[in-house]
């Protein structure tokens, strides 16, 4: 009997310790270290790159979170598995005990009874423990759900915040772009304005110039007209004067013409006589010219002759020497030897033959 009790007591102590142990294991398996990671300070990031950087950060963050969750879930599953094992062990131990108890019942009805009572009690305790475990499980599940919900909420918030940030940045970029566009437009507008003004100025200047040119032209035209007028007037005056002069000179002209014709007739006659006597003189001088027998073909000398009335030679001078003194002298001597040179009786013709020149050349 006494042994049964001890055995019962020992069995009950085992069960109790086991439960305490399981509980302690649950408590240790809890992990409260997960805290949200702070993201990079977005203020330092350039606006233009914001979207890309943020997106990657977010993704990284989400991935981290997911990895963390997975890890936690795995840990939890492990814990659950260990608890289940222990529970199984406990159940197996219990079954063993019940078997022992049944054995003992066989040995002792009292003991049986007590054991039954104890078993009931133990079953109660087990049920209680089960209940407690279920409760604990529920609480844990609830806490997990709450944590997930909180995490989701945090994620949503973070996402929202990031979206908001992105939105803000996009807005800012859009704003900057809009600003740049605005400025461009303004610059274009200013340029267009300047061009328009320049064009206007040009137009104005061209108009002014055209106006000036027109003015100048008009003035020139005026002057030309005036000049033409003056010229026309002068021309008229001159014509009148000329006509007058012509009228007055007509008779004088006629008289002069008659005289001139007479002179020309005389000149022709004199020229004829001069030509005739030139030929006679030439023949005579040629006859008297004895040139040096060795004279070169290119020799030539020019001799100027002045005659006395009657044809005697007054003077003979070499105007252009042949370069050969013997040749030059032969030319001079030819003139002297030909003297007196034949002279016409016509006084005017004779006058023309007083001063002339000879050119002597061998051929």
């Amino acid at each position: 009997m006494k042994k049964t009790f001890v055995e019962n007591f020992l069995a009950g102590s085992y069960s109790f310790l086991l439960h305490i142990l399981i509980l302690a294991l649950f408590v240790i398996g809890m992990d409260f270290s997960s805290t949200p990671r702070k993201l990079a300070n977005s203020d330092d990031v350039e606006i233009v790159q914001a979207t890309v950087l943020d997106q990657s950060l977010v993704e990284e963050e989400v991935a981290k979170l997911e990895a963390f969750e997975k890890k936690e879930r795995e840990a939890e599953a492990e814990r659950q598995r260990q608890v289940d094992e222990k529970l199984e062990e406990a159940r197996k131990a219990l079954e063993q005990k019940e078997q022992e108890a049944q054995d003992m019942e066989q040995r002792a009805k009292l003991e049986q009874e007590r054991r039954r009572q104890e078993a009931e009690k133990e079953q109660q305790q087990i049920a209680e423990l089960e209940k407690q475990r279920e409760k604990e499980e529920q609480r844990k599940q609830k806490a997990e759900q709450e944590r997930i919900a909180a995490e989701k909420k945090r994620q949503a918030e973070e996402e929202a915040r990031l979206q908001a940030e992105q939105k803000r940045k996009a807005e800012e970029a859009a704003k900057a772009k809009a600003e740049a566009e605005r400025r461009e437009q303004e610059a274009a507008k200013a340029k267009a304005e300047a061009e328009r003004k320049a064009e206007e100025a040009r137009k104005r200047q061209a108009e002014e110039e055209a106006k000036r040119a027109e003015e100048a032209k008009r003035k020139a035209e005026e002057q030309r007209k005036q000049a033409e007028e003056a010229q026309r007037k002068a021309e008229e005056d001159r014509k009148r004067a000329e006509a007058e002069a012509r009228r007055k000179a007509a008779e004088a002209d006629l008289q002069r013409q008659l005289e001139q014709e007479q002179q020309e007739r005389d000149a022709r006659r004199v020229q004829g006589v001069v030509d005739q006597y030139s030929l006679i003189i030439q023949q005579r001088v040629k006859r008297f010219w004895t040139r040096p027998s060795n004279s070169e073909a290119g020799l030539q000398c020019t001799v100027r002759v002045t005659l006395l009335p009657g044809g005697d030679v007054k003077n003979v001078t070499i105007v252009k020497s042949s370069g050969n003194s013997v040749f030059d002298r032969s030319a001079e001597n030819a003139v002297y030897k030909a003297a007196p040179l034949p002279q016409p009786s016509d006084a005017k013709a004779a006058e023309a033959l007083r001063d002339f020149q000879f050119i002597f050349k061998p051929e």
């Binding site: 030439q282 040629k286 004895t290 040139r291 100027r304 013997v326 002297y336 050119i359 050349k361």
Partner: protein, 432 residues
């Protein structure tokens, strides 16, 4: 407006001081190359009468040149002897181109003072005038010198009247034998002086360029040998007496060498001898032909000679240092005895026409040949140093005489009145 301007311009032109007429110019071409009329007044004499008539010598010289026509003495209006006596108008009437007057005076009949003046009649100015003092024996030569001065003054060319002629005279002794004389005369053939006499033939006299020496061939030793003789001293020596022929010597223009014909190697060939050393260099190498009668071109670089290498005698040209000879004459079947004018342009030679030998000239640039003489048996042509005349020997009534012809063939004259037969003449160079 324009018409107004034109009127103004026309008016200006009308007002320009134009000459009454441009100077009349009469051109005289042709003329003649006739002889120049010149008045040569017989020179006045004072004291002893000179043995020579100087004005006559001058007049003959000038006339012989064919370039002057001295006035007939009877046409001389007056006879001035000094410039103060000249009335130029008189001489103008005579159309004379020059007037020569002069005076000869002597106190002793041995030494004579001579003066002359040549005037340009038309300009009434003296062209040239000189005074001389000469012995009686120098009067003739002085006459030639005065003729040279007048000639050069009026023609612009040097006269050759005071140059000399060398020639060989052949005389007959009473017994019918012959003697030979190498003689030198005045340019007119007068006044011959014998410089060498021999009973054996003398040939081919040739003047040294200085006019002081002669080279010739003498047979005095029984064979043809070449001698060189100093005229002033009469000193002579044999320069070539090689075996065989030693003949036809010709003095080089620089006077240092002789070209001559030697047959010492069997055949007559042309050689050049250096007179100072006697060194010989052979010029021709033609054993089939006779090469002879060498004559130098004025440059002294080439020699012309006669050769029958073509079958008949013709003139060839060869470098004085030897080499290939080229034929120069192609007209006629016989051309020999070449001489070259001082300017190197003309060659004179003996040229046969219908078997008769005449003197001809060939223009060495154009090759044109002109026969100058109508005499026959002409030989040994020799140019005057001024190149105007060619001296040669010809035959008259079977006897050799000297004659001269102008290079244009227009003037022909006989020189000298020697009683002997003359051959082989050579005209001297100018007197220095």
């Amino acid at each position: 407006m324009l018409r107004g301007w034109l009127k103004t311009i026309a008016l200006l032109i009308a007002l320009l001081p134009w000459p009454a007429h441009a100077l009349l110019t009469i051109e005289i071409t042709g003329g003649s190359e006739a002889a120049l009329p010149i008045a040569i007044v017989p020179f006045g004499t004072e004291g002893f009468a000179p043995p020579e008539d100087l004005s006559e010598i001058v007049s003959n010289d000038l006339a012989s040149s064919g370039r002057f026509a001295p006035l007939e003495k009877r046409d001389l209006i007056s006879q001035p002897h000094e410039s103060e006596q000249v009335n130029f108008a008189d001489w103008r009437l005579l159309r004379s181109e020059g007037l020569l007057i002069g005076k000869v005076s002597s106190q002793d009949g041995e030494n004579y003072q001579v003066q002359f003046q040549l005037f340009d009649v038309y300009k009434a100015e003296q062209l040239v005038g000189k005074r001389y003092q000469v012995p009686a024996s120098g009067l003739r030569n002085l006459g030639h010198q005065i003729a040279d001065i007048v000639y050069e003054t009026l023609t612009g060319e040097k006269g050759v009247f005071s140059t000399r002629l060398a020639f060989v005279s052949e005389m007959k002794n009473a017994d019918g034998s012959k003697r030979y004389a190498l003689q030198v005369s005045d340019a007119d053939g007068a006044n011959p002086r014998t410089v060498l006499q021999s009973t054996q033939p003398i040939l081919s006299p040739n003047w040294a360029p200085d006019g002081e020496q002669l080279t010739y061939v003498s047979f005095e030793n029984g064979k043809a040998e070449v001698y060189v003789q100093q005229l002033s001293s009469g000193r002579r020596n044999s320069v070539a007496s090689f075996e065989g022929l030693n003949t036809a010597p010709a003095w080089s223009p620089d006077g240092k060498k002789l070209a001559l014909t030697l047959s010492k190697n069997g055949n007559p060939e042309i050689y050049v001898m250096e007179l100072a050393s006697g060194n010989l260099s052979r010029v021709t190498h033609n054993s089939q032909a006779i090469d002879t009668e060498a004559v130098w071109m004025p440059s002294g670089r080439e020699i012309l000679f006669t050769s029958d290498r073509g079958g008949r005698p013709q003139i060839y040209r060869v470098d004085a240092s030897g080499g290939r000879a080229e034929r120069v004459t192609f007209e006629g079947g016989y051309n020999a005895s070449a001489d070259i004018s001082p300017d190197g342009r003309m060659m004179s030679m003996v040229h046969s026409v219908n078997g008769r030998f005449h003197i001809a000239v060939q223009d060495l640039q154009t090759g044109t040949v002109q026969v100058l003489t109508d005499t026959t048996g002409d030989e040994s042509p020799s140019f005057a140093p001024n190149g105007r005349m060619i001296l040669y020997a010809t035959e008259q009534k079977g006897r050799g005489i000297l004659a001269a012809v102008s290079v244009d063939g227009r003037i022909k004259q006989r020189l000298g009145e020697s009683g002997s037969a003359v051959r082989e003449p050579a005209w001297s160079p100018f007197r220095n």
